[in-house]
């Protein structure tokens, strides 16, 4: 495995629920993120994105499959995890919750250095991270408290806290979801610049496909714990193949898919994943008869991601068409 690539193979995370049921939040995910590339992970609320991110960081113990970094499987001793998290950093959903209201910006950013026992030139490192995150001049922000900052500035502090350890890879969970139109552009430009100038890799989790179009190289579409389509952003978003991806893209304003396909109902519960293809109860292709030729397989067999690197799709109908 190439240097610095973060990989998941057959990754599963299950949660036991009261009454003996099991929520399969992440249910067999394959995913790679290489240095110098931005991968977007998109899907509906509750489909397992945050759980997957946490598992990639070793914050959630997989119940199956594996996570590896640079070809080395993730080890769960606290020492191994500590070393790992210096190289792969998590940026959390909701910047307000991620910052302690009683800590100054300086302390928030320096925290990582202290955890990792990096004592030399702390002020210099903090200043450098703040200015890389666009908070300049950094000294002006040292003594500010989170409530004195705008939402965008708070998110920059969170990003500075991740950058201060000079990681190889960022995993950012909804980095702009709570931010305004204008600030959103700034934060996304920042991520893009890290990639271009420093060769940083990033997995950006979002339910916003416009974000993926703005900054990502590749995109993975997740549905109910599994990646159902994966490929270069240009291809997946302009010519979506999986019926779920088609529906997601179709409801965007000015969509490349002509007719909006508004799916009925909501994402099923992770403890009640339907048998056969997990998307079948909401699949427009199955319901309309478009998938009649593969109907039995839709009902009996959960499709796996297959196809060449540029169009990996988990759908019997798409597979049948690829063969034809």
């Amino acid at each position: 495995m190439a240097e610095g690539v973060l990989s998941a193979r057959g990754l599963r995370v299950e949660f036991g629920l009261p009454g003996g049921r099991v929520a399969r939040a992440v249910d067999g995910v394959d995913l790679d993120v290489a240095p110098g590339e931005i991968v977007a992970l998109a899907g509906e609320s509750g489909c397992g994105k945050t759980t997957l991110a946490r598992a990639l960081l070793g914050l959630e113990r997989p119940t199956g499959g594996s996570v590896s970094f640079g070809g080395e499987p993730l080890r769960f001793s606290s020492r191994a995890l500590k070393a790992y998290r210096r190289r792969v950093q998590l940026v959390l959903q909701d910047p307000t919750g991620a910052l302690n209201p009683r800590h100054t910006v300086y302390d928030a950013v320096a925290e990582g250095l202290r955890i990792h026992g990096i004592a030399d030139d702390e002020p210099g490192r903090v200043a450098e991270a703040l200015s890389r995150a666009g908070l300049r001049p950094p000294e002006q922000f040292f003594l500010a408290y989170p409530h004195e900052l705008s939402g965008g500035q708070r998110q920059r502090v969170v990003i500075a806290g991740a950058l201060v350890l000079e990681p190889d890879l960022l995993v950012a969970d909804e980095p702009v979801a709570s931010l305004d139109a204008s600030v959103r552009g700034e934060i996304l430009s920042l991520l893009l610049r890290f990639k271009e100038d420093a060769g940083l890799g990033a997995l950006v989790i979002t339910h916003d496909l416009g974000l993926a179009w703005s900054i990502a190289d590749r995109i993975a579409i997740m549905y109910l714990g599994r990646v159902v389509e994966q490929g270069p952003v240009e291809e997946v978003l302009t010519a979506p193949r999986h019926p779920y991806t088609r529906a997601l893209v179709s409801v965007l304003p000015d969509s490349p898919v002509a007719e909006p396909i508004v799916l009925a109902g909501e994402l099923p519960d992770a403890s009640r994943i339907p048998g056969g293809c997990r998307f079948r109860p909401r699949c427009p292709a199955y319901a309309s008869g478009e998938a009649a030729a593969v109907r039995e397989r839709c009902e009996g067999e959960d499709p796996v991601l297959a196809g060449p690197e540029s169009l990996r799709v988990a759908c019997h109908l798409v597979h049948a068409r690829m063969v034809a």
Binding site: E44, S45, G46, S150, G151, G152, D180, A181, S182, V183, R184, G185, E186, L188, S189, L192, H207, D208, L209, G210, L211, W213, S214, I215, V233, E234, L237, T238, A247, L248, V249, V251, L252, P253, D254, S255, P256, P260, V262, L263, A264, E266
Partner: protein, 326 residues
């Protein structure tokens, strides 16, 4: 037919920071059966405008101008009349409203409550009507027996919409009603709202910071900045060919998928909106404007017609036919 009309509406808060002019002279109209979109960054006065309609602003807010609902001024009407209007005349679905359901009551009861209070129905009739409303917003009627924590965010937002519909209002104000929802649920809720407008001829004011969403569902869009409307026109035109630098920047923040120009170039606008307590002299957008000219520093542009009567812009450059993006 004009349903709602703002005439020179001004709202000024007084607080520890002094006088805060949050809305500074807004003129807008909404017809029955029409959706008016209002866009703008946070803090530009959108929610203040929405709350003014139902007189939900705090006492510290000084309100002047007129807000006419079916010709009747909401700002001067008596409290008794206002109470009736609050459900049957106009209702609001708030930003983050899904968090404001009462945790200890079943949602059916919460939807039935305004019907009981304002509709003079028996409890059994109100309960039946609540189930009907839940069904109308795409929830199984059995959901009436659920508590809020048993519902997802999208389901809770639908419950809030069912409540807003309970007394058959003529006007619905949706303040960032779909912002926190993901694409598919947002599409479901928008389809529901636009369906109501088309079928029942209600009027709607839809507030959002996402101009691309407004362009898809609204007839007319108004862009608000620092308490004023800076551009107004057919929604898709305001989004696709902005005639104000601020609308252009707002629109660019949400790229059109498939458009190569926005690939790898996240749009944005540096800086923050001005503090309403300390507005800059001249055009309030000048500190962030890339196309400003000399007079922008001293004169404040009015909202005037550009390119025919339908479009108006409060920008000197646009008014002279110049380009609003570099």
């Amino acid at each position: 037919m004009t349903l709602l009309e703002f005439e020179d509406l001004r709202v000024t808060y007084t607080g520890s920071r002094g006088r805060i002019p949050a809305v500074r002279g807004v003129d807008l109209a909404v017809d029955a059966g029409e959706i008016l979109g209002i866009a703008g960054e946070s803090g530009c006065g959108k929610s203040t405008l929405a709350m003014a309609v139902l007189r939900l602003l705090p006492r510290s807010a000084e309100v002047t101008g007129r807000i006419l609902l079916d010709g009747e001024d909401l700002l001067t009407m008596g409290w008794g009349r206002l109470r009736a209007v609050r459900w049957t005349g106009a209702s609001i679905v708030f930003q983050g409203a899904m968090h404001s359901l009462n945790a200890v009551h079943r949602v059916g009861r919460q939807v039935a409550e305004p019907i009981l209070v304002h509709g003079e129905a028996s409890p059994a009739k109100a309960a039946a009507r609540a189930e009907e409303l839940l069904e109308r917003v795409g929830l199984p009627p059995s959901r009436a027996r659920s508590y809020p924590h048993e519902l997802s965010g999208g389901q809770r937002q639908r419950v809030m919409i069912a409540m807003a519909l309970a007394c058959d209002p003529d006007l619905i104000i949706a303040d960032e009603a779909t912002t926190a929802l993901d694409v598919m649920v947002q599409a479901q809720v928008l389809e529901l709202l636009t369906g109501l407008v088309a079928e029942r001829g209600v009027g709607m004011v839809m507030i959002s910071h996402d101009l691309s969403v407004l362009s898809a569902v609204c007839g007319t869009a108004a862009v608000m900045y620092a308490g004023r409307i800076v551009e107004r026109g057919p929604a898709h035109e305001v989004f696709a060919q902005a005639r104000h630098p601020y609308s252009a920047a707002l629109g660019a923040a949400f790229p059109v998928i498939g458009d190569p120009a926005s690939r790898g170039r996240p749009g944005g606008l540096a800086g923050d909106p001005p503090d309403p307590a300390r507005l800059p002299e001249g055009c309030s957008f000048r500190p962030r404007c890339a196309v400003a000219v000399e007079r922008c520093g001293s004169e404040s542009p009015e909202l005037v017609a550009v390119q025919g009567a339908e479009r108006s812009s409060a920008c000197f450059v646009a008014q002279e036919g110049g380009p609003v993006v570099l």
